[in-house]
Amino acid sequence: MTPPEEMGPAVIAASVKNVPQPISGVATSGKSSELVMKIVPPVLVFILAILSWIGLHYGLSEEKAITVPLPWDVIEIGFLDTTNLQFILDGLWISAKAAIVGLAVTIVLGLAFAIAMSQAKWVENALLPYAVAMQTTPILALVPLIGVVIGFDFISRVIVVVLISVFPFINNALFGLLSAEKSQHDLLTLHDASRLTRLTKLQLPAALPAIFTGLRVAAVMAVVGAVVGDFFFTQGDSGLGQLISLDASQLQYERMYAEVILAMFLGIAAYLAVGFVERRAIGKWHSATRAGI
């Protein structure tokens, strides 16, 4: 039996190595210079942003300058003062809970809808226009209304999170479920595969990369929905949104900035968490996953 033809690329790579490199001062240490190019620019932008922040503080008149507290004051008053920190972390936990539960509901509901739409064109035709309409509706403007109708409890916050995060998830999942190739479907047809077999052995695994793409967007939107929704609820357990609103009205700007920063980190954490699960779930076979964060 002849061995598989795998020497092709290796031979090419070897011959390329012997080609003399063009003379250039920069290309001497390829790997480490690449790393430097990856780290230095964002660090520079970060320093520039902090400097502009400080510059803005000193540039403003005295009564306006309190709205832009200095970075170290934000750290000292917002994060290092234990009473304030406890106050903020309580809010963070309430917002995080709403985001997590809402995201879980989005995944279950979104998958159910996407699968239903992938099974019959008429279901897709029946539902997709309304999914689009829902996405273009300014959900956050409806938050006070939702509060009046359903209440200002946890459940309303979860509803807002779902309303705002479910569409990008459905959209990506549906795209993924329909992405399997015709020949792959033919293969299953030849062996009389049932709808369920087709779904579990072909459509769902083929959809996983797109599902995770949708999940990344949905996770970030869930945090936005939890925090901003809370901002507009103005009643019930105080999440980060209400704390931001409260501290702004009481001129507690250092604490407010700390809350905004934490909300941002919550979003980043959600994004990274999805990426982590994604790499574990499909990183072995989906190469694009390995390249990204």
Partner: protein, 257 residues
């Protein structure tokens, strides 16, 4: 207006091989793809079909496999023992080589132990031993095709349908895979229907080569290939081989006219 022919299409089951009896294919959009094609393939017969692009060669396979029901004529084939080798490897990228090769066994409800053993044997047979745990993304085009071949072999089909399986491969990989298909054919004496663009490939593999005309596809040339099996790669350089290829090539040129 070309109304689809109303003659009844029968699919009988008849063990190994297949018979096309006055088969035609009219697509709903009015395209007349295949016209009055008749031939049969028995065990130990390997028939290749060459023809211009779009002449309905692949439609023959789709009709034989049932993916596309013929609109006229009578087709006899045992669908229970068909092996279909696709144009691309059609592997599932989320499955390892081993899992891909086991797929058809899973679909057919073969017990786990049996299908694992069949997969292992097939993987060895196509020379992919040691690559069981690799994912398709890390395999070369030729290795993917081997994996696809191994997958079909697990069901031990008596009839093979090949849909231009090696068309996208480089010359060396293609010739190697041709050698392996020949080897399998020599050992298993299946009935084979092979669609290809390459006259050399068709002559090298087959017991018989059919030439199809441009659409609507008809059989316009029928060449028995007299070379004995097992065939050596050196056969490709013999004058008899070149002469036969030349004659088929001429007939193919007429098909384009």
């Amino acid at each position: 207006m070309t109304a689809p022919t109303t003659s009844r299409v029968q699919v009988k089951t008849a063990g190994q091989g297949m018979t096309f009896d006055h088969i035609s294919m009219h697509f709903p959009d009015g395209t007349h793809a295949v016209d009055d094609v008749s031939f049969s393939i028995g065990p130990g017969e390997f028939v290749s079909v060459v023809g211009p692009s779009g002449c309905g060669k692949s439609t023959l396979l789709k009709m034989a496999s049932g993916l596309l029901p013929a609109t006229g004529g009578e087709l006899t084939v045992d669908r229970g023992h068909l092996g279909y080798v696709f144009q691309d490897a059609t592997l599932m990228p989320w499955r390892t080589v081993q899992q891909n090769v086991e797929l058809l066994g899973e679909l057919e409800g073969i017990p786990k132990k049996e299908r694992k053993a069949a997969a292992k044997q097939a993987i060895e047979l196509v020379g992919l031993g040691g690559f069981e745990d690799k994912y398709p993304g890390s395999l070369s085009g030729g290795m993917k095709m081997r994996c696809s071949l191994a997958r079909v072999l697990t069901l031990k089909p008596g009839t093979f349908l090949f849909d231009e399986p090696f068309g996208a491969l480089d010359e060396i990989s293609r010739e190697r895979l041709n050698d392996e298909v020949l080897d399998l054919f020599d050992k298993q004496q299946f009935a084979g229907l092979f669609i290809t663009h390459s006259i050399q490939e068709a002559v090298f593999l087959s017991t018989r080569v059919l030439v199809m005309s441009a659409r609507p596809g008809r059989i316009i040339g029928d060449y028995p290939i007299p070379f004995d099996y097992p065939r050596n790669p050196e056969l490709r350089f013999s004058p008899e081989f070149a002469e036969l290829c030349g004659r088929i090539s001429e007939s193919l040129r007429e098909a384009h006219a």
